[in-house]
Symmetry: C2
Subunit: 451 residues, 2 copies
């Protein structure tokens, strides 16, 4: 649905709501995708939101809950009846229900879980035991598995009779201890002789993960091997669930968002729709870190206050040195951080990449330095000062290359997310070094500089 179509549907929905033509609205909702409904609900006031939500069929309601952002979800949960909610949650695929519950504040989540247990939805509780962002949290405990001696014909019968499971791309094969033995792609099952035991047609080397595996690692595995689903097994190789490719796609989007936003000093899970209150402290945290680094840079300038007093022109050129150092580090660090996230950049490549960035930094720094020198000379007519500016700029590009490669790699080695080395942190080095070298050189040569 294009943004324009969504806008049109929203207007139409609001009209139907106001005219109390609920049946028409229910029909209209039935043919709308849950993602679009979730987006539309966001636009409505709390009361209207609950009214519209109640018009949804139960299965669709579950899908909409799963697509709803944290803030709207909480408001919706508070506006709805607990019985309604627990019934909807109980009918959702357990991994999605777990995702919804874990998006709620603890008090709400616990209340719902207590009520759900009576409804027999222990599956959700089970999934919530695993840590956030692990395979256990995103797996579905529903899968199709047969005993290894089961003949193909019987496996096909089983497939025909089983209700619609979320993952229907592979049939898993287990031994009599429920240990994962192999996997049969659906297509191979169709093409095999009906009397063969599945044991003989299954692929024996199955890539699997444990519930503790990081979700980013699962995504890497699926990307690399073009899988449609990954089985999740216990340490004893017992089949616990599967992770399907659609859940992996959500993980890939989530991890990319996290990287992009962390680099900019924003929490990885913030969305445009979060309320100002919800993100206030997190935004402020990075602002204060930035304030600290800015004060550090300012105190370097403070060392040279006297030089500036006698030659205010220095202050005019200062932001150029800092700004060029800033883009230099940001360019290098971003390419390195993305390389790490995609699994391309490892310790083995450290020297090669560092050498490349140093060459690049010096080459681009030399060109930038000369151009800047020329501009500064034409602008202010001071040759020596322009020269100092050019040299400081070149020096700073050297620092940018070193810092931009080494800091993300060091964080990676100490198992910290390299994206935390956001521009806030990393440009502090070039700010401090840039001010120090520019103002330092100028102070040394101050008596040769025209006032």
């Amino acid at each position: 649905m294009s943004p324009e179509e969504r806008d049109r549907l929203r207007a139409e929905m609001i009209n139907l709501l106001e005219a109390e033509r609920q049946e028409e609205l229910a029909l209209r909702l039935e043919e709308t995708h849950p993602t679009d409904i979730a987006a539309l609900l966001r636009e409505l006031g709390v009361e209207d939101r609950a009214r519209v939500f109640r018009l949804l069929a139960q299965q669709q309601a579950g899908a909409v809950l799963h697509e709803t952002d944290d803030q709207s979800l909480l408001e919706l949960v508070r506006a709805l009846d607990e019985d309604e909610l627990t019934e909807i949650l109980g009918r959702m695929p357990p991994d999605n229900a777990a995702a919804v519950v874990s998006d709620l504040p603890e008090a709400e989540a616990e209340k719902l879980l207590d009520l759900m247990e009576e409804e027999g939805a222990e599956n959700v509780q089970e999934l919530l035991k695993y840590g956030e962002k692990t395979a256990g949290r995103i797996m579905t405990p529903e899968f199709l598995a047969v005993y290894e001696e089961t003949p193909v014909s019987q496996a096909l019968d089983y497939l025909r009779k089983s209700a619609d499971a979320e993952s229907v791309f592979y049939l898993y094969v287990v031994d009599d201890h429920n240990h994962l033995v192999g996997v049969v792609p659906l297509r191979r099952l169709i093409t095999a002789d009906p009397s063969t035991p599945t044991r003989l047609i299954c692929q024996r080397e199955v890539l699997s993960v444990t519930p503790e595996t990081d979700q980013e690692e699962v995504a890497g595995l699926v990307t690399k091997h073009n899988l449609l689903a990954v089985p999740v097994v216990s340490r004893e190789n017992t089949l616990l669930g599967t992770i399907t490719v659609d859940d992996v796609i959500d993980v890939i989007h989530e991890e990319a968002t996290e990287d992009i936003q962390r680099l900019a000093g924003v929490a990885g899970d913030e969305t445009v729709f979060d309320s100002p209150r919800a993100v206030f402290t997190k935004r402020l945290l990075w602002r204060f870190i930035n304030l600290a680094t800015a004060i550090l840079a300012a105190s370097v300038i403070g060392l040279f206050e006297e030089s500036i007093q006698s030659l205010a022109l220095l202050a005019v050129f200062m932001p150029i040195v800092a700004s060029m150092g800033g883009i230099g580090t940001t360019q290098t660090a971003t390419v390195v951080i993305r390389g790490i996230a995609l699994g391309d950049m490892t310790r083995a490549h450290l020297w090669r990449v560092l050498k490349k960035e140093l060459q690049l930094g010096l080459a681009t720094g030399a060109v930038n330095g000369v151009v800047m020198m020329a501009i500064a000379y034409v602008w202010k007519g001071q040759f020596l000062l322009s020269f100092i500016l050019g040299v400081a700029l070149l020096f700073n590009m050297f620092v940018a290359a070193v810092v931009g490669v080494l800091i993300p790699m060091a964080l990676k080695i100490f198992r910290v997310d390299p994206a935390i080395a956001s521009s806030v942190i990393i440009t502090t080095f070039t700010d401090v070094f840039g001010f120090f070298s520019f103002l330092g050189l100028a102070t040394l040569l101050l008596r040769f500089l025209a006032p």
Copy 2:
């Protein structure tokens, strides 16, 4: 394969190469994933790279070519025999072969294509007709389709006999003009009565794209509807090919990389392994844009040179105003740009998000401003100057919120990638406005400020 395993395998490979134990090496390579082989090849010199590559079986060689970065690919292509190459390309899935050819410089690409035509690989030529980053470029022209009156039993037979096609999740159903009529998921085919015509069991409402559809839109469709494959049809609804979920995952990674890197003033397709020469001009372009914006900021400072001359302390506080404005815009713009990329943020939400960011900017700005005022007062003992600093900081946060929301949205509306509004461009506003308000206020009140 973990980085450590890869390092170990690399050492082992180099040993086997040096000892000329090629057969052992070939066996070792056979069980290694193409992605890992591509990463290993990158580590070798040009000659060794060609030697190792020649040890690969043809099908694996194709997969490795597809995974190889542009730089290594070009070196490899130059080192190899043209006959070897065209044969390997001819056996690759056409979409992958097209991707490899389009990664090469024009001269090399054309030479290979000329040779390939004789080998009957027109499919690749066909795909290359479509623009870069379109559905046509990533689709595979191989798919399974049956005529709508074909009974299920015959469709199953067809499935059994057809060679391994890349996409085997869905069977497409076409009418006698080859127009797409519907799709049958493999599982439904198994569970249906053998004599039913496929027409009666297929899903009629099929989501499809045209070859001209942007690949990001295809990825959005697959993400939203949890698809495993999307059919590509002509304007006349003739089935041309399919795009499978594994190709979509590659697109999602690619688009995320583009967003992350463009925000940092780096080309969307740069990798850590590109040679300094290959990226020099692109990096330099953003450096020069940055230089221009820095000179703009510097010239604002130039307007107040006299004030700085009489009170150098102003220069000390300047970077704080600029730096806080910088993080403010970057935080806001990044959340908005990511929201746009994920399809959450549309024009309809403009005022809501702007209001939120203004509230946030003023709230965080007030807190930051007061804290900064206190620090500045304790540090330098000048109350009025500290107050001006706090006010300028608050003003700048207001500008940051406005610019951070409006510029990405304006670019989106004019169909320019919002990520182009990288920090380089967008922080210029807060730099200029910040210096102007801080130095301007200080100049107005200069006679009240202690020297």
